[in-house]
């Protein structure tokens, strides 16, 4: 697996560079990198499960929110690394419990039920908080420094990348891809689909939970509406798809391009950026249907070059 090694070296270098970012003392660059890393982590961990299996999970917001709530409750009692790990574990536990049942559903049914369960958790937490503690939301005043948050998110994102590569190359990864192609056939070939799917789903949940736990302290006050925000999962799915969820480079590229582009547009065209972003999304699906990373750039370049430098072919090659 030579290519993998090249990739790991590149990842290590990038990580070192990113880890040194706080030395610049440029809080804006750092927080831009932070949200880029957060979405990179979310998108990579989402693609870990949903890429190969094609199960469109919309539970990411629920995982993220559960992690964030763990921080809100546990921050005063536990050391920081434990808080983050526990946030991830809470999401994993939730993924396990719902996975037992929802992983029997497929396609749009699976998407809708994972979304529904997220909303269910959000409103259950609202209700429980209100009934038991007479308030909604939590204020966190003693929080770790922004550098600590940044390094934590970087570490989780890095872990997600390493896990994606390792898990993908493992027996489980092959089994997941098998399930994505044809679930029944995979089962006849000796794969236990439920066990494999559950493993992938729970693993992917941990990262989203841990990221939620690490990010929660950025906003001082959290309530169910901010941390169980559907915006989070929509953005994650978008990034993964635009990047291409079948290789680890896809969600990473997607997070980088999407975060930087949307931030650049937002700041430079404050009234029109959403329209532009929307047009770019549609164009990207039409012309890069397999994502930035999944696209056959070489073929496209040759085609374009041929069209520009030689006479146009008399007949366009057929599409189908």
């Amino acid at each position: 697996m030579k290519q993998d090694n090249v990739f790991l070296v590149a990842a290590a270098l990038a990580t070192l560079l990113l880890a040194a970012l706080p030395a610049l003392d440029a809080p804006f660059v750092q927080s831009l990198a932070l949200s880029c890393l957060m979405y990179a982590g979310l998108a990579v961990s989402w693609s870990l499960f949903s890429g190969p299996t094609r199960y469109l999970s919309l539970a990411t917001s629920a995982f993220f929110g559960l992690g964030a709530y763990c921080t809100a409750v546990g921050l005063a009692h536990l050391p920081w690394p434990l808080v983050v790990i526990a946030g991830g574990l809470a999401a994993t536990l939730f993924a396990f419990l719902i996975g037992l049942v929802v992983l029997k559903l497929r396609g749009a049914y699976f998407a809708v039920i994972t979304y529904g369960l997220g909303e269910l958790v959000k409103h259950t937490i609202t209700h429980v908080e209100k009934t038991w503690s007479g308030t909604v939301g939590r204020v966190m005043t003693e929080t770790p420094s922004s550098n600590v948050v940044y390094w934590s998110v970087l570490l989780i994102a890095l872990l997600a990348v390493v896990t994606y590569v390792r898990f993908g190359a493992s027996r489980y990864g092959h089994a997941l891809r098998g399930i994505g192609i044809d679930e029944e056939r995979a089962a006849t070939l000796g794969v236990n689909p439920m066990r494999v799917k559950l493993a992938g789903f729970c693993l992917s949940a941990w990262f989203a939970g841990a990221l939620g736990a690490a990010m929660a302290v950025r906003w001082t006050y959290i309530d169910p509406n901010t941390v169980f925000n559907p915006f989070i999962v929509f953005q994650t799915v978008l990034i993964s798809m635009v990047g291409g969820p079948l290789t680890v480079g896809g969600p990473l590229l997607g997070a980088l391009v999407f975060s930087l582009l949307s931030e650049f547009l937002r700041l430079s065209l404050p009234y029109l950026y959403m329209i532009l972003l929307g047009v770019l999304l549609i164009v990207s699906v039409l012309y890069l249907p397999d994502g930035i990373a999944g696209h056959d750039w070489r073929a496209m370049c040759t085609r374009v070059a041929r069209r520009w430098f030689k006479a146009a072919p008399a007949v366009e090659p057929p599409h189908e």
């Binding site: 809080p27 932070l34 949200s35 409103h123 007479g134 308030t135 006050y221 509406n225 700041l267 404050p270």
Partner: protein, 396 residues
């Protein structure tokens, strides 16, 4: 033309002028004062932000620049607003303010819309030593954080609820039903309200909560109608206050006093509810009849933004801008000096005298307003009242 398209054409014109004038344009001029802020132009906070807050920022800059600029210790400097959309997203809000304060190093920052957003930004501003004077933040917890660079001009739950309860008692209300929203705003207000009602011997016959985005509350209101209270108290937010009012009217739920909290003072409430708005009470603190300054503010708002300001937080947003303006005139743009000046000075604003005790503004008391003949009259406390309360409310 609405405000946004005005801004758009303004931006385009400015860019064009900038390009044309770039080379050789070196007339000695004071540098602009850069003012950074985010407002929600998209997402769930957009309705509140675009009614109450951002129009004031645009009006302020336009008015000052037309008069030569902001007075910085005697020198007039033009204002340059750097306002971006925060998509109602907390992380985007935090990141944008970090950019303003550290990368752009703007001269001033203005706060975002809403309690949650203020919670997120207040510590960041405090850390970088930028003062924020916030009009739309409502939480005792935020006040209790005691951040030295953070100030709120809006009345907090306790004074607002106390004014309401005093008014109820003055009209011999014995029984109420209460509906409130499931969020920090609803819970803090109900938390303040209940002991105050108990202290005046007012009985709560029914108390129900509802979630954000509810579309039908008729069954809840029918239950409350059956309880037949003297007053209805809705700790509501737009658009639920429209829903509650409309449906109360439909089912003929007509207590003596009908109170819906936030958004009742919005002009759109009057437009939407028509005659049904007459007699409804709500949170408010001013109207153009109150003073010359208030009338001037009202007229300028209508002239520039083409819509009326709301009769509650809009003026608090304007007052916050006046406080900054007066502070800069006195002590310049040194942020530490500005903070100290704001903390200890009494200001003359559109809402009268304002001064801060820590984070909280204590000059303007809690008030109750009521729609009467198309104007939102202040009916409580008596010292601030612009009209007598009309009780009982008549639905027509």
């Amino acid at each position: 033309m609405n405000t946004i398209s005005r801004r758009l054409s303004l931006q385009a014109a400015l860019a064009l002028a900038g390009m044309l004038a770039m080379p050789g344009f070196a007339v000695a001029q004071e540098p602009t004062v850069k003012v950074g802020y985010t407002q929600s132009r998209s997402g769930p906070f957009a309705g509140g932000s675009q009614t109450t807050q951002e129009p004031n920022y645009l009006l302020w800059a336009e008015q000052l620049n037309a008069a030569g600029g902001l007075n910085v210790q005697g020198k007039k400097r033009k204002i340059e607003l750097v306002g971006v959309d925060d998509r109602s997203d907390m992380e985007t809000i935090v990141r944008s303010y970090e950019k303003f304060m550290t990368a752009d190093k703007v001269d001033l920052v203005l706060p975002p819309w809403g309690t949650g957003a203020n919670f997120a930004v207040a510590p960041v501003a405090n850390k970088h030593g930028y003062q924020l004077v916030a009009p739309t933040a409502l939480s005792q917890k935020l006040v209790d954080m005691k951040l030295p660079y953070y100030f709120v001009t809006l009345q907090q739950p306790k004074p607002m609820m106390q004014a309401l309860v005093d008014m109820l008692a003055a009209h011999h209300v014995k029984t109420v039903t209460v509906a409130y929203m499931d969020d920090l705003f609803g819970l803090e207000n109900i938390g303040a309200l209940e002991p105050m009602l108990a202290a005046k011997g007012i009985k709560v016959l029914d108390k129900k909560s509802y979630p954000l985005g509810v579309k039908d509350l008729s069954t809840m209101l029918k239950g409350m109608k059956a309880a037949n209270p003297d007053a209805f108290i809705g700790i509501t937010y737009p658009p639920d206050n429209f829903l509650v009012t409309g449906q109360a009217k439909e089912i003929g739920f007509a207590p003596k006093i009908f109170y819906t909290a936030v958004g009742t003072a919005f002009p759109i409430y009057r437009e939407r509810m028509g005659k049904g708005s007459e007699g409804t009470m709500g949170m408010g603190s001013w109207n153009p009849k109150m003073s010359k300054a208030a009338k001037a503010y009202f007229d300028a708002h209508v002239a520039v933004t083409k819509k009326e300001p709301d009769r509650w937080a809009s003026a608090h947003a304007w007052a916050a801008l006046e406080i900054i303006q007066q502070t800069v005139e006195k002590v310049g743009l040194d942020r530490k000096a500005m903070r100290d000046h704001i903390a200890k000075t009494e200001f003359d604003t559109v809402l009268g005298k304002m001064k801060f005790n820590g984070t909280e503004e204590v000059g303007v008391p809690g008030m109750v307003g009521q729609w009467q003949n198309g104007e939102f009259e202040i009916v409580w406390p008596p010292a601030r009242a612009t009209a007598k309360a009309v009780v009982p409310k008549v639905w027509n």
